[in-house]
């Protein structure tokens, strides 16, 4: 007995109402967003930045580019004319708003936007993307959740309390010096809604009453000191300045910082180490060891003239689990202008030579300036490695921030521990004698399965 003929197939991906007419009540911007934007993006490097839907090599007239910058921080409040049916039906949960500073760096975020806007709402309406809060500069926020053109204005929510609105998308795509940065620019929702309330009160009396229908702020009461940015282990990341070069580093003992050789290449060079800016402590140090140029491990060790106060010393990991959730903490993108950025991903590969991990790869977004920064396990908070590089395709010039390489901490830990206890550099000098298979791996070549046999 045949089944009843099924109704015509209809995909149920994106259900939607027919378009509802709306009117523009006001356009608004958040002055503090602009102030931080100018501080972070507006100095002499401004021409390096592109926040556009067009790729950086597409020619965009200069005035149009300025327009795009002008528009970045502007948002709009619309009144939607609901019919009786929609008004009755549409009683979904009201949105709640997270106060500025209530969400800490590294916290998971969910972005809900419609790629390409109204072009294909039945396919793309309210598409989700997930990431973490990567950096905070007042109401200017950054997330590594990947967003596409058309998601501008989309909501950014926390996991707990469920669906609390944190921000709106200001620019989904960012390029710096023609490198895709893989970060999305956000404007915090709380100051925006405060601006809406203030504007409604000053516009026409009829709109003032609308302010009563705006969502309220929940969570950390306004005015409490900004929470310590980021997960506890993120504070182990330090900024390392060596002359005109700067990069990231990680404190592995109160007076010992590890960074990359290409950040501070010369032994005995003096370097300045900054802990997270909230503490704004800077301590002088000296490079006591840097691997040879020919060594595959791009490492330098700095001994400080005094202890780094309040900087947590991370626990070094002993094992690596491919696929585990990880985070990179580094001063890439913004450098000294604000604290380190946190980007999330997974441990995508552990490359071994003779059963020993010699290279870690992750999917976190890693940019110039993050070299020397720490790679952490999200589950244990343990230090997994030291970030050294991301990937560039020399044939196209394209840079891939989401494919990057770290030195496993298990390669360094015994020598660091030995130096900490004895101030003997012997263990560190061994790194310069890394075996050929390790060199082959770090030259991104295929490790020879076995030496080619002579036919004689």
């Amino acid at each position: 007995a045949g089944l009843e003929p099924s109704p015509p197939a209809s995909y149920r991906r994106r259900l939607q109402q027919p378009p509802l007419p709306a009117e523009l009540l006001l356009l608004l911007s958040c002055p503090a967003f602009w102030a931080h934007f100018a501080r972070l993006f507006g100095d002499e490097t401004a021409e390096q930045w592109r926040f556009a839907s067009v790729a950086p090599d597409d020619e965009v007239p200069e005035d149009e580019e300025e327009d795009q910058l002008r528009l970045l921080g502007w948002f709009a409040l619309l009144g939607v004319r609901l019919g009786q049916e929609e008004a009755e039906e549409e009683r979904g949960p009201a949105v709640a708003v997270a106060p500025l500073g209530a969400v800490s760096k590294g916290a998971p975020l969910l972005v809900c936007g419609s790629p390409f806007g109204a072009f294909c709402p039945d396919i793309f309406l309210n598409t989700l993307s997930r990431g973490v809060l990567s950096n905070v500069a007042g109401p200017l926020l950054l997330t590594d959740a990947r967003c596409l053109p058309g998601t501008e204005g989309g909501g950014v929510f926390t996991a707990r309390p469920a669906g609390t609105l944190v921000a709106l998308v200001a620019a989904p795509l960012c390029w710096k010096s023609r490198e895709w940065v893989g970060l999305t620019l956000l404007c915090a929702a709380a100051p925006l809604l405060r601006a809406v309330r203030a504007a409604l009160g000053r516009l026409f009396p009829s709109t003032a009453a609308l302010a009563a229908h705006l969502p309220l702020e929940v969570g950390v009461p306004w005015g409490l000191p900004l929470r310590e940015p980021g997960p506890p282990w993120a504070a182990a990341a330090v900024l390392v300045e060596c002359g005109s070069v700067w990069g990231s580093g990680v404190a592995v003992a109160p007076r010992l910082v590890v960074t990359c050789r290409h950040v501070s290449p010369r032994e005995a060079a003096r370097v300045l180490v900054h802990s997270t800016p909230l503490k704004s402590v800077a301590v002088w140090g000296r490079v006591v060891f840097a691997t040879q140029e020919t060594c595959p491990y791009d490492i330098a060790v700095v001994s400080l003239e005094e202890d780094l106060e309040d900087v947590p010393i991370p626990v070094p990991a002993e094992h690596f689990h491919e696929g585990e959730a990880v985070s990179v903490v580094g001063f890439g993108v913004f450098g000294q202008a604000c604290g380190p950025s946190v980007t999330s991903g997974i441990l995508s590969a552990v490359v071994q030579v003779d059963g020993t991990p010699v290279m870690l790869q992750t999917t976190c977004a890693v940019h110039g300036g993050s070299s020397g920064g720490p790679l952490f396990s999200n589950r244990s908070g343990n230090l997994l490695g030291i970030v050294t590089s991301n990937t560039r395709d020399n044939s196209t010039g394209a840079t891939y921030p989401h494919l990057n390489f770290s030195i496993p901490i298990t390669v360094l830990q015994p020598a660091l521990q030995h130096y900490s206890q004895t101030h003997d550099l012997g263990g560190l000098r061994e790194l310069d004698r890394a075996a050929e298979p390790v060199r082959v791996v770090w030259r991104l070549q295929r490790p020879l399965a076995e030496a080619p046999r002579s036919k004689l």
């Binding site: 149920r12 259900l15 006001l26 002008r70 008004a87 549409e90 709402p121 929510f157 996991a159 469920a162």
Partner: protein
């Protein structure tokens, strides 16, 4: 997505919408569109990105960078601005929507 995300996802999708702007009498112009957040459903209030209104500003885009410009009233845009908002209904149901061309988008095989 872990359990922690279930209710966050529902709340995010319930609050999401898409906004399109067009010119009355000139259907070929635009449309300009972006995403938005439903702040209230009765009365209907939506917060979206302001970039799509630039082509409609009576005083031109320069008004956006005028010193101290923090907000502009709704009548800063020309009268031919037409706005529409679309969102997913709270309840599931058969798909609505009219089959439309997909300008400029394609799905190249990797």
């Amino acid at each position: 997505m872990g359990r922690q995300w279930g209710s966050a996802m529902r709340a995010a999708e319930q609050a999401g919408c898409v906004v399109s702007a067009s010119r009355a009498g000139q259907p070929e112009a635009g449309p300009w569109s972006c995403s938005g957040v439903i702040l209230s459903r009765s009365p209907g209030l939506v917060l979206c990105h302001g970039g799509i209104f630039a082509p409609f500003l009576r005083a031109g885009r320069e008004v956006l960078t005028a010193a101290g410009a923090v907000f502009l009233p709704g009548d800063s845009c020309s009268d031919d601005l037409r706005l529409h908002v679309q969102w997913a209904p709270a309840a599931a149901g058969p798909l609505g929507g009219v089959e439309r061309g997909r300008p400029g988008l394609c799905t190249p095989q990797c």
